[in-house]
Subunit: 216 residues, 2 copies
């Protein structure tokens, strides 16, 4: 079957957009085909099912994490802690440009899919791990600013929890304010952690090493 | 049309359970009728549409907030700050009994519905306000333990953000561990806020008054 090399990409991009806008269950295959300008034979040439298409969408989000999301935070701030807040700023921008209607596509799918498709749940989790793993790498660069023994992996996952919970509240109130409030509380927590390090015992020197930056 | 007085309740209970388990879009009216043991004439006697039924489900969640959720936290802890963590414990229990498959029904609906049905979004937001309003009432009882000027309304909404974000991560990993980690970080933040109050300036006496408990 002769296929244009970008047919698969067009299908993935249209499916990603529609799942984000309307949810997975509410999106019909016919709509995906129409928006991708592809016929159903081509869809089933590349994907076994709508579920398989969603698996491709989740792999694509993981591929785009660095070039579309993390790279913006890196460009916006060189200080590793400020980079974390710049990353949260990328999502704030996403709320603003959509009038707080869309939120995080991975978070939406996490709640919509639940345990219905175990293989897809694992791909959702991989996206979350990629995100919080990047934050953890930045926090490790700044490890010396946090109290000795701070669990930076847990702290990085907490940043993700606050981002996702804040996005949810912003969508429910259709205002960016709940997101800003949540980020402000997180900033206060970070400030208190860093202030206690500054005033506390010099402690465990291993926390002052810059541990291996994660390669990106 | 002769109706048994509990037909409407049976419809609401079945719809609430199914929307929670499978999502709103993925739940067909036929399934609701079968699980409620009700015919479609009775459904449309009480509700104009599936959307109207969801409106009833959201009103019911608000009615049940006090007797099913808040009352458990109150029974579990008399100290107002411990009550907040007891409330988070109620949701942990919900994760455990469902094997981390279900999460918070309101949070799920918030992300699934987005802006598709403005009247329903407002009912979702009312549920969130009821929840964080109760937490705010408890924090006001303990206002003297927090630093002067602490925005207790914002702090109570942060508790909701952490609960919802933590539930999402627990479902994605199918483990209660990410939820426990998030609550542990929140506890650390609360401890740091309270410690700084204890060691800080005595400050603004109005914050030491027990401001009006919200009636529940």
């Amino acid at each position: 079957m002769p296929e244009s090399p970008d047919t698969r990409d067009r299908l993935l991009a249209a499916a990603a957009r529609l799942f984000h806008e309307q949810g997975y269950a509410a999106t019909g295959v016919a709509t995906i085909l129409r928006e991708a300008d592809v016929n159903s034979g081509s869809l089933y040439y590349y994907f076994d099912s709508k579920e398989d298409l969603l698996a491709g969408v989740l792999d694509r989000y993981l591929d785009l994490l660095e070039p579309e999301i993390l790279s913006r935070a890196k460009a916006a701030a060189s200080d590793p802690v400020e980079r974390v807040f710049a990353l949260l700023g990328v999502y704030r921008w996403g709320l603003e440009v959509t009038g707080c209607t869309l939120g995080c596509p991975i978070g939406n799918l996490a709640l919509e899919l639940g345990d219905a498709y175990p293989a897809l749940r694992e791909k959702v989790e991989k996206n979350f791990q990629g995100w919080s793993g990047a934050v953890e790498g930045w926090l490790r660069e700044a490890a010396g600013r946090f109290p000795p023994g701070t669990d930076l992996a847990a702290l990085s996952r907490f940043v993700l929890v606050v981002m996702e919970g804040g996005m949810m509240q912003a969508r429910a109130r259709k205002s960016v304010e709940p997101y800003d409030d949540a980020v402000r509380q997180l900033r206060d927590y970070f400030d208190r952690l860093q202030a206690s390090r500054a005033s506390g015992p010099r402690g465990n020197p291993k926390n002052r090493n810059r541990k291996g930056k994660r390669s990106s």
